[in-house]
Amino acid sequence: MLVSVYRYNPETDDAPYMQDIHIDIPGGKDIMVLDLLQLLKDKDPSLGYRRSCREGVCGSDGMNMNGTNGLACITPLSAVVEKDKLVLRPLPGLPVIRDLVVDMTQFYKQYEKIKPYLINDTPAPAIERLQSPEDRAELDGLYECILCACCSTACPSFWWNPDKFVGPSGLLQAYRFLADSRDTATRERLAELDDPFSVFRCHGIMNCVNVCPKGLNPTKAIGKIRNMLLSQAT
């Protein structure tokens, strides 16, 4: 099969280019894209990409495979290869450090902005703060986010305003803390989000839902934030 890989080494290349590599898959098996990358790296050790857990938990190997963002380690070739060709590019919209490795600073800045930790101004109890099973269930579909950035880098609103729009990933996390029964900073959190960019730059394109490797739904979470803003407004 033919693999076309985005290559860029700022120390030696003037501009990024696509490198075409023909490769035979041993035994014709349906391997994961990450395994394919290892085969490519055996051929050309200068190829750079991030990987760690190789099982869709760490979120390191988010990349664009034939036009769709996803995690290379849990994406089988059969799911992305078309006409025996695979085009691998770094996540769109973020600066490239090298080859498939992107600079995630902007993405983490947005995550930091939403204060991704419990805030509770009541005195700490002797034991942990308890939660009813129903309250705990509110966090399902939110806490599973692994911050791989597949969603935010698939979002046109995030491409145009990565410094102002929090992005689907950050907003999913924002709602995770807004929905937490143990958090007491709901009002302050909402006040931080009520501007024309942070939440409202979401136009419901839903690329985020389409690409999330964990099957989460940031658009739904954004809708819930909007409803919270509406219901506390007068």
Binding site: S157, W160, N161, K164, A191, E192, L193, D194, D195, P196, F197, S198, V199, F200, R201, R226, L229, L230, A233
Partner: protein, 115 residues
């Protein structure tokens, strides 16, 4: 919190709500006009003039006109902040949009009450 001084209401929620309310007004006006033109005979000049001389129709049309102005401003402001990154060029674009919107509103009122 991102501060913005050129948006319609400065609050994202406010802009979002205005955008939806004005959209409903525009839908109502469009449905009315389409029904009026599609289900009746082709109006004569007198009938057409008569329609717009009524106070209710003037109120409805002015509401639709103002709704379109607010709706267009919020939408174009949003487009300009997405695609026009140099501040000077964006300010010029927004100024032209604002001026045109204002002209259309005044002109529209003049036409509406000039019948």
């Amino acid at each position: 919190m991102v501060t913005s001084i050129t948006s319609f209401g400065r609050s994202g929620l406010y802009d979002w709500m205005i955008q939806r309310v004005t959209a409903l007004v525009l839908v109502a006006y469009t449905v009315f006009m389409v029904c009026y033109l599609a289900f009746g005979d082709v109006p004569t000049y007198e009938q057409w003039k008569g329609l717009f001389e009524g106070t209710a129709m003037r109120i409805f049309t002015l509401l639709a006109l103002l709704s379109m102005a607010a709706h267009a401003w919020i939408g174009l402001w949003s487009v300009s902040t997405d695609y026009i990154k140099p501040t000077g060029a964006r300010f010029v674009f927004q100024s032209v949009c604002g001026l045109l919107t204002f002209i259309y509103v005044v002109w529209g009122i003049q036409i509406l009450w000039g019948i």
